[in-house]
C-alpha cells in the first residue's frame, strides 16, 4: 500500500466515524480538484475534527510504513497530523509548478503545527527534487519543533540536500539541541568539509570553556589527519569518558589514526565497553 492508503487505513480505527467521514469527503474533494481555498480550510480545520490523540502504530504497521517509503517514520504522528498528511497526498501533482505553488502558499500562511506537518511530509511529496529549496529554507527556522520536523526521523534531507545545505543542517542541530543520532543518513552523507566545520566548532567551544557534543566525533573521526589527530588526542587526555568513547568509536577504521589508536589501545577498549555504540553515546545527552 502507498503511504496515502496506509494513513487512511490507520485513521479508520483511530478517529470517530464522523471525523473519518468528513476526512474522506475532503480527500475526495481534493482529488477531484477542489479549490485551493477549500483545501486550505480543510487542512486548517483537521485537528478540530479528528482530535489530537497519538497515532500509536503497532510493529506491523511500522513495518508497512517502511515498506511503503523507506525511512518514513509516521509512528510519532498524532491522528490530526496523519490526517493532514493524507490531505497533502491527495493534492493533484501532475502539474509540477501548480503543485509546488500550492505547497508554497500553504507554508506562507502556516501556523507552527501546520509547518511541522508540511515538513514532516517532505519524503512523501511528488517531484522530490522540487522541494530542495523549501527544505533548505525550513532549516533556517528558529522554531525547534519545525526544525526537528525536517532534521529528525526524516529521510528527505540525506536524499536530496546538497552538501552545503546538509552541513548546515548538521551544524544547526548542535545549536538547536537536536541529537545527531536522530538525523537519518548521517554516515552516508558525512564529508570532509563537515568534519572541518565541526572541528572548528569544537575549538570555539573549548575556547569559550563550554562543553562539546560527543556526537560530532562520528563525523570527524573518519577524516581525522594531521592537526585534527592532535585534537582527538586532547579529547583522550582531558575529555569525559563519553567523549573518549565517541572518539574511539569514530577513529577505529581510519588508517591515518593508526598511531593514535595504537597508543591508546588499552584504554580504548575500556571506554568503548562503557559506551559501545553511537546510540549509547547519544543516550547520555539531554532530550
Amino acid at each position: 500500500m502507498s503511504p496515502a492508503e496506509l494513513l487512511e487505513s490507520w485513521l479508520e480505527t483511530r478517529v470517530p466515524a464522523s471525523a473519518l467521514a468528513w476526512l474522506r469527503e475532503r480527500l475526495e474533494d481534493t482529488r477531484r480538484g477542489a479549490s485551493e481555498a477549500d483545501f486550505f480550510l480543510a487542512f486548517g480545520l483537521t485537528p478540530r475534527k479528528t482530535g489530537r490523540e497519538p497515532l500509536s502504530l503497532g510493529d506491523a504497521e511500522r513495518a508497512s510504513a517502511e515498506a511503503a517509503r523507506p525511512g518514513w517514520r509516521p509512528e510519532s504522528l498524532r491522528v490530526d497530523q496523519a490526517a493532514r498528511t493524507a490531505l497533502l497526498l491527495s493534492l493533484a501533482s501532475e502539474d509540477e509548478a501548480r503543485y509546488v505553488g500550492t505547497l508554497e502558499r500553504l507554508v506562507a500562511d502556516a501556523d507552527e503545527g501546520e509547518l511541522v506537518v508540511l515538513y514532516r511530509a517532505l519524503p512523501l511529496y511528488a517531484h522530490p527534487k522540487a522541494h530542495r529549496g523549501r527544505a533548505a529554507e525550513g532549516i533556517r527556522t528558529n522554531m525547534k519543533t519545525v526544525f526537528d520536523a525536517i532534521a529528525t526521523d526524516n529521510p528527505y534531507p540525506s536524499e536530496e540536500l546538497d552538501d552545503a545545505a546538509w552541513n548546515q543542517l548538521v551544524v544547526k542541530c548542535l545549536f538547536m539541541g537536536t541529537k545527531l543520532i536522530r538525523v537519518q543518513g548521517f554516515d552516508a552523507r558525512n564529508n570532509a568539509a563537515l568534519a572541518k566545520i565541526l572541528v572548528d566548532h569544537a575549538h570555539e567551544r573549548w575556547a569559550a570553556g563550554r562543553p562539546v557534543s560527543p556526537e560530532i566525533w562520528r563525523s570527524v573521526g573518519p577524516f581525522a589527519d594531521g592537526a585534527v589527530l592532535a585534537d582527538l588526542e586532547r579529547v583522550f587526555a582531558t575529555g569525559t569518558d563519553v567523549e573518549r568513547a565517541a572518539v574511539a568509536l569514530a577513529i577505529r577504521h581510519n588508517p591515518n589514526a593508526e598511531a593514535l589508536v595504537y597508543a591508546n589501545r588499552r584504554h580504548m577498549d575500556r571506554w568503548i565497553a562503557a559506551h559501545p555504540t553511537i546510540e549509547a553515546i547519544a543516550a547520555t545527552l539531554p532530550d
Partner: protein, 306 residues
C-alpha cells in the same frame, strides 16, 4: 495563584517580560491583532504579522512555559486605509481565522468612529458569526462613552450574543452599560494614564466580579506586562475575595474566549507530550539568570500602577 492576561501584545515585548510573566504565575496570554505603531502599506505586511502570531510568537512563548493564543482582525486605525483593508478582509482574514489557537476576532471596533471603520467592523462581526468565534472589541480613547455604546448596538444589530463579546478598555463611565447589556467588560490597567489598578479595585468593589476581566494591553508603548498579577495582588490586599480575584484575573477570560473551542485549561495543566517538550526547553531558558535580570525584576517590583 494562576493568571491569564487576555490582552497583551507579546510581539512588542522582550524575553525579560516572558520570564517575569512566568514567574508571576501567568500561564496563558492572548494577543489580539492590532496595529504596530505605524501604518502597514501593503497586504504582505499584514500576512507576515498574522503568520508570526500563529507561528513564531506562539513558539517563543512556549519557551517560557506560557501558552500563547491570538485573535485575528483588522484594527480600527488601519480600517481607514480602504483599499488595503478590503484586501485584508477578503484575502487574508478568512485564511487565518481558522488557525489553531485563534480564540476570537479582535481587536476590532472604533478609533476615530469613521464610516470606513464601521464598515470594517461590521464585516468582521459577520466573519465572527460564520467562524463561531467570540469577539474582542477595542473601544476608542476619544469619545469613549459614545463609541462603546455604538459598538454594542452594532454587535446586537448583527445578531451576536453579548455573552460572546468582550468590550475592552472600559472605565468608570462605560462599565455599567456594558455589564447591564450582558457583555463582558474588560479593563486595561495602564501605568501613568487612563486606568490604574487602584481604580480597578474600586470598580471591582462596586460591580463585583461577574463578567469583569482584567488585562494589561502591554505593547510597544509605556505599559506594564505584570498588570494582571499586580492588580490581583492589590485586590487581595484591599480585601476582595480570592474567588472574585480568580474570576477577574483568570476564570472569566477563560470562559469568554474558551467559547472558541480553541482554549482550555488542559492546554496548560495537561499539555500534550509534544508540547511538554517545548515547555521543558523553556525551563532551560529560565535557568542561570544573570544579575541584570534581577535589576529588571526590581524595576517591576512596585505593586501599584497609577
Amino acid at each position: 495563584m494562576h493568571f491569564i492576561d487576555p490582552h497583551i501584545h507579546m510581539q512588542a515585548r522582550t524575553t525579560d517580560d516572558y520570564e517575569a510573566l512566568a514567574r508571576a504565575g501567568v500561564v496563558a496570554v492572548l494577543e489580539p491583532a492590532f496595529w504596530v505603531g505605524q501604518p502597514r502599506t501593503n497586504v504582505g505586511a499584514f500576512q507576515h504579522y498574522y503568520q508570526s502570531l500563529v507561528g513564531w510568537e506562539r513558539f517563543r512563548a512556549s519557551q517560557f512555559g506560557i501558552r500563547h493564543y491570538c485573535m485575528m482582525g483588522l484594527n480600527a486605525k488601519e480600517a481607514n486605509q480602504e483599499e488595503l483593508s478590503e484586501l485584508v478582509l477578503q484575502e487574508l482574514l478568512p485564511r487565518y481565522l481558522g488557525k489553531e489557537g485563534v480564540v476570537a476576532v479582535g481587536e476590532i471596533g472604533f478609533d476615530d468612529i469613521t464610516a470606513a471603520e464601521e464598515k470594517v467592523f461590521r464585516a468582521q462581526l459577520e466573519m465572527a458569526k460564520k467562524t463561531e468565534l467570540p469577539v474582542c472589541v477595542h473601544t476608542p480613547h476619544r469619545n469613549k462613552k459614545a463609541g462603546t455604546s455604538r459598538s454594542m448596538d452594532i454587535a446586537v444589530e448583527h445578531g451576536i450574543d453579548p455573552a460572546r463579546v468582550v468590550i475592552d478598555h472600559n472605565n468608570e463611565e462605560t462599565v455599567k452599560e456594558v455589564l447591564d447589556r450582558g457583555f463582558w467588560a474588560a479593563f486595561t490597567i495602564y501605568p501613568k494614564t487612563k486606568m490604574g489598578n487602584e481604580r480597578m479595585v474600586a470598580i471591582a468593589k462596586q460591580y463585583g466580579a461577574r463578567h469583569v476581566i482584567v488585562d494589561s494591553s502591554a505593547d510597544w508603548g509605556v505599559s506594564d506586562p505584570l498588570a494582571v498579577p499586580k492588580t490581583a495582588k492589590l485586590m487581595l490586599e484591599r480585601g476582595i475575595a480570592e474567588a472574585d480575584v480568580q474570576d477577574m484575573c483568570y476564570r472569566n477570560a477563560l470562559a469568554a474566549y474558551g467559547q472558541s473551542g480553541q482554549m482550555a485549561e488542559d492546554d496548560w495543566t495537561k499539555p500534550a507530550a509534544v508540547d511538554q517538550r517545548a515547555l521543558f526547553e523553556g525551563n532551560s531558558v529560565l535557568r542561570g539568570q544573570d544579575p541584570s535580570v534581577e535589576t529588571a525584576e526590581e524595576r517591576r517590583a512596585r505593586l501599584v500602577i497609577e
